[in-house]
């Protein structure tokens, strides 16, 4: 089998807190294959963004990172600064939630699209400009040459996010980390951006790490999904495994909380902050199936079927089904 594009093992991130370091990502393992859309789900504060920021070494000062992260043969966590600079932006690009804050308000779109093309690929001004117009056309911005002279405020939210994606695509990265790329957008505009990401993956084979709390978005795009809770992955598998056949009570509750059929079934309470992570399974105080052993024992991810991993001692959702299987 081919080597995965990105493989992360035992990733642990600690951030300084008022009462000493807090663990925000706690021993996370996952892989992303070339050309795959890898979905990362979870509530805010579950460590999903921190995981990817740590891979690009964009964490705030004082953070410590342990574990291993290999990206096409290079170790991201130990690569020297010069090498890291060649990876960031060129091989791994990032798209953030709010394009108004990720695009520079006082630089023209043309400048923002050509700067790193010239830096990373060493092309001259004219061919960078031509390439930038191509990129805008690729993300379906009307009148690309006019758009190059315009500024971010002249575009709507959906257009700005397309431009941010064009910036990310400029150096033909092999992986795009998209952190809540459609959360700030209207559903109609979101649908367009989802189609765009899907097309990029099909046409260029670019892998996407899609971070989102919207399981509808996840279901539309992701090939595989990992569900984060309190800094750990509690379930991972193919899109169908996780969304159609959830094994973890947390995944099930997330799907149920905003299910499109029937009454609201909100999940009580909120996710614990990194400093107040409960012992045992971190989800046990909110879990309707929790038993004494959930509070006592740490849970580790174990396969329940090929490729479908679950960290749940009680396993209340899959056990009955297994019992009736021949």
């Amino acid at each position: 089998m081919a080597e995965p594009l990105l493989s992360v093992e035992g990733l642990t991130v600690r951030l300084p807190g008022p009462n000493g370091p807090v663990t925000v990502v706690d021993g996370v393992d996952f892989t992303v294959d070339a050309g795959e859309i890898f979905g990362v789900a979870g509530e805010s504060g579950s460590g999903k963004t921190m995981t990817f920021l740590s891979l690009l070494r964009l964490l705030p000062a004082g953070a410590t990172v342990h574990g291993e992260a290999r990206f096409s043969g290079q170790n991201l966590l130990t690569a020297p600064a010069g090498e890291l600079r060649r990876i960031r932006g060129r091989q791994i690009a990032m798209v953030f939630q709010d394009p108004m804050t990720s695009l520079h308000p006082m630089l023209s779109i043309g400048r923002q699209l050509t700067d790193h093309l010239r830096t990373h690929l060493g092309v001259n001004r004219r061919s960078a400009r031509a390439r930038a117009a191509e990129l805008l056309d690729e993300v379906r911005i009307p009148d690309p040459s006019g758009a190059l002279r315009a500024y971010p405020h002249q575009f709507s939210g959906g257009m700005r996010q397309r431009i941010a994606i064009a910036v990310a695509l400029a150096c033909r990265p092999r992986l795009i980390v998209a952190d809540e790329p459609t959360t700030a957008l209207d559903v109609t505009v979101q649908a367009g951006v989802l189609h765009l990401l899907d097309r990029l993956r099909r046409d260029h084979g670019v892998a996407v790490a899609l971070i989102t709390h919207d399981l509808g978005v996840m279901s539309a795009l992701a090939d595989r999904v990992s569900v984060f809770y309190a800094g750990r992955i509690v379930e991972s598998g193919t899109r169908a495994d996780v969304l159609r056949d959830p094994g973890h009570p947390y995944t099930d509750a997330l799907i149920g909380a905003l299910s499109h059929t029937g009454a609201l079934r909100p999940l009580p309470g909120s996710a614990p902050g990194a400093a107040e992570r409960p012992g045992g399974c971190a989800f046990h105080p909110r879990c309707r199936y929790a038993t004494e052993r959930c509070a006592a024992d740490d849970q580790t991810l174990v396969p329940i079927s090929p490729g479908h991993l679950l960290a749940c001692a009680e396993n209340p959702l899959t056990r009955p089904r297994k019992a009736v299987a021949p």
Binding site: E43, M159, V187, S219, A257, L258, P266, S270
Partner: protein
Amino acid sequence: MSVLSIADLHVDYRRRGRPTVQAVAGVSLSVEKGQILGLVGESGCGKSTLARAAVGLVAPSAGTVEFDGSPTTRLSRGTRPAHLLGLQMVFQNPYASLNPRRRVGAQIADGVGARSRTKVRADDPRVAAVLELVGLPTSAAGRYPHEFSGGQRQRLAIARVLAAEPSAVVLDEPLSSLDASAQAQIASLLVELKDKLSLAILLISHDLSVVRQVADVLAVMYLGRVVEVGPTEQIWSDPRHPYTQALIGAVPQPDGLGTLPTALPGEVPDPARPPSGCRFHPRCPEAIARCSVEQPDLTVLVPSGRKLGTSIDTPIGTARSAACWLRIDTEAR
């Protein structure tokens, strides 16, 4: 009688040297006691302006808004007529609308005091009762807003509004800054409060999937006009306006099937230069010649498959209506 009724409301934003923006261009809606009216639409469609006009924060250029039978005129600085105390508003970002430097109890006591016209202390039992109503512990009164999570802060913002014992509450995107699980919690709190206190609630949101689950009646807005109104489940299961169909089709379903939602081509046009005729016609897949010439009005439709349903006298919002020539020509009464 409707608690809050909006009739042919227009709100224009005038800017020197530029065309006037018609943010709200002739909207009629009404909210009844014990009812949640969900108002949905894309950003820039004028729904927040409508919310602000409903409580009197912006002046309408034409039309009326009545609360309990008396008009909500634009508020002047520092004075709010006593009869408007029963009409309250909750804003999108609870952290921006709560005072970060005052304890929660004191902020809620303000509302209780406004209603009772006396000075009320933060340890008043009525403050504790309001906190309990929104599902927060009474100990919350002694804490500051930053000590709470986003969902809890939105509960606080709602508690502060409830302290004034309103009969109508307008909420502008109260869920959009929250996580999926907090959204569901606040959404079910709204339903609970509506039933318990017989509130009339105008809920503004761009997120159809949440509104669908809490609203009794749904109104869909496009570029300053309401294009479809009706009972939520009917609209969801059988949308009649092409725009409503596009909005519902664009919501991705968490069904694990990997189906991409249907994208609606184009963007919301500039409200300063609205298209002629039906404002949706340039993006409409079904537009006919008439659509670009004549503007359709919201018209009560015959329920599909049946001859007669709701009476024509039912209040605006309860009868199934759409503003679309394709439907008006064939289905209107």
